[in-house]
Structure formats: structure tokens, C-alpha cells
Symmetry: C2
Subunit: 334 residues, 2 copies
């Protein structure tokens, strides 16, 4: 049996079973954006996340600069800390380096990591450097901290909660297509889309704010497309969801891209990966107030794109009012 037969998430379930040890102090093991365990001190939790980026799977070296690659490797890890409402602390970089990689390349890669790291006072405290016969492989392990009582998990959403995202979706997937295919688009639009793919924003302050409100019932970062990531929230929370097509946040740039490539923005949004926005749920009676405070605090809107339902399936209501079930169609690594 190959991994593709059970899929990435089937495999993760399997790992959960293989790795069971009951141990004091572990709050959350495998199955959320970060692992969580008790830190020293009242209400203090330690967060831990790690992400591996593999050449020719996650990036093509002729389509990304070393600076961008460094930035992105840290960004995807920071995004996991943001999704728990935590504050990042220390990073550790393991890197397998093929012979063709130059010292200049690595200098720029570290500059990319540190340009983002400095912004969040995250230092690279260590790691491992080794050779590689084929691909360049990067792994960042990142620690963080948070108040245990205000942590955001994937589980916790309840029927009636509103579903929000803090920015446009689908742009990173469009940017990836612009990067690897010859798409005939205005240069400004191209640059914008490619930038969302290569240098994704990170929402540490936003995640910490959402955690502090006490009204956010679940949260995840959108790394595999919302059909897949909302699926995680539903599965962990034991609920279903209804999305409104009319409310999905589509940027003007994505509209232009979709017209040019004859795709539907809807399809790009549901299954496009690597947006790294925060997807979260809010108690129904608190959502209006939270929208306003968020807009005031961060100068950007939240987008309400649906609501949590009983059941376990995700439905989409189209502009005509018809509802159809949607399946997780995001990125699976196998």
C-alpha cells in the first residue's frame, strides 16, 4: 500500500495511533496547527510547529529567489503559530544542501529568513546543515507561547457560529500558475499574484487578537484551500458548514486572472493552497461587534463567508440559492 492510497490525512491519523504515549503536560499532540504543552507558570502554554519544504515539490529553484525561499520557509511556520493565537519564539533550521548550491545562495536564504524573523523577534537558534545528493530540503521547527486559556484550536466550532477569513483567497494558487505557466496578464497583476505566493503575509497580531476576544471558537490557517481546511475545523469540531458563494472574498486581481485563464474564481478559492489567511469561527451574537473592532484595529475587513451547521458535511449555496455538498479538494502531498 502506498501513501497516495490512504492520503496525507489518512496517514496523519495513522501516525496518531502509532505514537500514543500518555504523558503529563501535553495539551495537544498531533492534529492541530501546533502541538501544545504546558509551559512553566500559570496559564502558560508552549507551542511547537514544524514545516518541511522540498525542492520540486514546494518550490522550483528557477522560480523563487533564495531570499523569497527563506522568507517563505519561516512564514509558513509563523502562520501555524498565528492560527493558534500564539507568539512565536525561536526557530531552528535544518537544511540539506546539494553541491550545486552556492554560499551566496545560502547567505540570501538566511537574509530572507531573518528579514521576517526580525519583524517578530524570532531568531534562528540552531539547526542542522547537511549534504544532499539531489534536492534542496529545508525544515524549520518553530516554538511559540500563548496563554493556555485563550488558545485557538481547530475543534470548538458550534452550529450557528459564523465563518470568517481575514483576507482574499485563491491569490496564491493563481500566483503559482503565473509563475510556472505563460499566463497573458497585466504585469502589475502578475507581480501582485506572484508576491502573494512567494512572500505570503503572516498574521501573528491578528491571531493573538482573535484569541484574546474569547469569542472565536476555532481557527486554522488556510494552507491547503478552504474546502480542505474548513473540513479540518468541521471534523475536529464535529459539525458541518454552509458557505455562501456570493460572500467568498475574491480580489479584483483574482477576477482578472480567472477571466484570462477561463477558470472560475470559486474553484480556485475552494481548492487553491497556500493562502495563509486565518479561517475561523465566531459566536453568532458576537460576530458583528468583532467585525467592527477588527476593522478599526487592523484597518482591514474580515470576510464572513458562511456559518457552521449541524451534521458533518460542507455545503455551498450558490447565487441562485441552491445548495450542493462540496468535498475537500485541496492539496494532498501524495
Amino acid at each position: 500500500m502506498k501513501l497516495k492510497d490512504i492520503g496525507e490525512f489518512g496517514f496523519i491519523d495513522r501516525v496518531k495511533t502509532l505514537c500514543q504515549i500518555t504523558k503529563k503536560g501535553i495539551i495537544k499532540a498531533i492534529g492541530d496547527d501546533c502541538a501544545v504543552y504546558k509551559g512553566g507558570g500559570e496559564d502558560k502554554a508552549i507551542l511547537f510547529t514544524t514545516d518541511m519544504l522540498v525542492e520540486n515539490v514546494h518550490f522550483l529553484l528557477d522560480r523563487i529567489t533564495p531570499f523569497e525561499l527563506g522568507y517563505k520557509t519561516l512564514a509558513v511556520n509563523l502562520s501555524d503559530i498565528a492560527a493558534m493565537g500564539g507568539k512565536p519564539l525561536n526557530a531552528f533550521l535544518s537544511i540539506a544542501v546539494p553541491e550545486r548550491i552556492t554560499v551566496k545562495f545560502l547567505d540570501e536564504l538566511y537574509a530572507g529568513i531573518m528579514s521576517l524573523g526580525r519583524r517578530y523577534h524570532v531568531n534562528v537558534l540552531g539547526g542542522d546543515t547537511t549534504g544532499s545528493k539531489n534536492d534542496l530540503v529545508l525544515n524549520i521547527a518553530l516554538t511559540g507561547e500563548a496563554k493556555e486559556s485563550s488558545l485557538l484550536y481547530r475543534g470548538g466550532a458550534q452550529a450557528g457560529d459564523k465563518i470568517y477569513v481575514n483576507g482574499y483567497l485563491g491569490e496564491s494558487a493563481a500566483g503559482l500558475e503565473v509563475l510556472i505557466k505563460d499566463v497573458d496578464l497585466d504585469e502589475t497583476v502578475k507581480k501582485y499574484l506572484v508576491k502573494t505566493h512567494l512572500l505570503p503575509e503572516v498574521y501573528i497580531a491578528e491571531g493573538a487578537f482573535l484569541a484574546e476576544t474569547g469569542d472565536v471558537t476555532s481557527c486554522i490557517d488556510v494552507s491547503d484551500g478552504i474546502s480542505s481546511d474548513l473540513g479540518h475545523i468541521c471534523r475536529e469540531s464535529g459539525c458541518g458548514a454552509l458557505l455562501y458563494e456570493k460572500d467568498l472574498p475574491v480580489s479584483d486581481e483574482l477576477k482578472v486572472f480567472a477571466e484570462t485563464t477561463k477558470k472560475k474564481p470559486l474553484d480556485i478559492i475552494l481548492s487553491g493552497g497556500e493562502d495563509y489567511k486565518l479561517l475561523f469561527t465566531v459566536r453568532n451574537n458576537k460576530s458583528d461587534a468583532l467585525e467592527k473592532i477588527f476593522q478599526n484595529k487592523f484597518g482591514r475587513p474580515l470576510f464572513c463567508l458562511g456559518e457552521i451547521m449541524t451534521g458533518k458535511d460542507i455545503f455551498l449555496r450558490n447565487r441562485g440559492g441552491e445548495e450542493r455538498p462540496i468535498k475537500a479538494s485541496g492539496w494532498d502531498h501524495f
Copy 2:
């Protein structure tokens, strides 16, 4: 400029410069077996280490079972915690999996990790699973804890200190050669040597004991051969060393291997990698007592193989009493 031009340790020095952020609570960043930062609570330090194993660089899949590979990936990380005198806590496995790898392979890999993990109450709390176009790549990040006041560092050795190792050297390098070449040896000897290479012992209790004595001035685990690893101790401590050839611990099995392959045990010991024994220095006037207590407590001897000197070079005194400088000749990944 390629990495091989500046070498693994030249590169690590470069990374130290690239990644400087002054930050409260960081006790030791890049440059020891683990990074160390202040934990919650009086005299509590958090340890962090990470090691990446790459197919065709660190292992050949037709020469190692998935169980052994899992065991070894955790063992090399545990050994870094042992060398600081710490207690391991939680592990995180990132794995890049080519299509040819089966689910059964991964089940056995996790079984290997957990067989060792259970012994030290180390759980795999999370990680990342992704695809790979070419090589299987494994990265374990491991946390640990220790009393800050009794941590063992590479720096700290002083002229006059005795140099010790807690077991035979060179066997792992011999085991690797048996694995990949056709060496005509007794099957029992072969098995023994191969086992030291594939399933190295880990010395958590020994490291913790050495840290508690207060008489151990520096420590490192032997991963790149003692000429290289003692070099790290000398460099970090600002001292030199004198090794006595007659006192280097050579097992009977290594003698047989050396005779058969027409090699000198000395050369294998100085530059052979992956022994994962603890190499440490002890205050001269405390060394006899420590040897006795260690033997009583662990039922195995310590081997005193030299002493720390002023200066910065490492010399070897041969059986005839002549001294010659030796250079670091261990494993460099580039």
C-alpha cells in the same frame, strides 16, 4: 563559492553571524549540541536540538531497515540532549516521502522511533509529512530540559583536565564499511559492528549523571570522529589537547576488523563518525573518584584518553613517546 570551499563548520560560523538577534532568555544559540534557553522556573533550562537524515547521504535504503532508520533518527537527537546532561521531552518528525515508500515502511519507521522513544518517555507530538521527488528525508526536532546550573557545554575545559570517553570508538565507522563493502569477517563480529552503526546506544542517564557531579568541565557527543569533536571542545574552550595512543579504547571487534581490512585502529578512531559516545573533560583532581563512581553506577568503565593542554592544537603521543599534531579529519558534509 561552494559550501565545500568553506566546509560545514565554516558555514556554521557564517550562520552565527547572519542570525544575530540579542534576545532575553537565550543561554546558548548556535554552536553547541543543543540550543539552550531559559525555561519557566528557577534554574530551569529548555534544550532544543534537531538533526536531518538524508537518503544516500546518511543512509542507503537497501542497507538499513525502516525500524533501524526510525530508531537511529531519534537516537542521534537524543545523543545531543545527553551531551548537554539533559532529559529529553518531546519529538517532532518531518518527513519527505518519495512515491516508492510504502505505508508498511512508514509503520515500521515509526515503530523504530517509538521503541526508543518509549524508553525515555519521548513522544512524537507532531511534525510534517510531505512528498519528495527523489530522496527520503527525515528531520527530528527534539526538546529537552535540564538544570541551567549543571548544563554541560563544549566550552569549559581547562589545561590539566583529563579527557574521557564512555565507550569504544571507531566501531560505527567499521560497521558502516561492513555494511557497504564486502568485508571477510566472522559473522558475529560483523553483526556486532553493524549494530553499533545502525542502532547506536544513547547515554541519557550517563550524561545527566556527569552533569550532576559538577566536576565535568565540557562535553560533546562523538558524531564526527574524536579528532573533529575534541577539536570543537578545544576551540570552544580555548585550549589544546594531548591524546595518548596507548589509551584509546579499541574493542576486540575493531582490532579484528582493522587486521582484516589492513587499517590502523588509530585512524578509524580519530576520523570515524557516528560513535555517539560522550567525550568529556574532568577536573584533574576529581577524575579518579569519578571513574570509580561511574563504574559502580553504570557497570561500565570510563576511558581516559588524554589531557587538556594550553595552546590550541591537538597532539597525539604514540607508544614510543613521540608527539605529533593531529588535524580534525572527521566527517564534513560538503
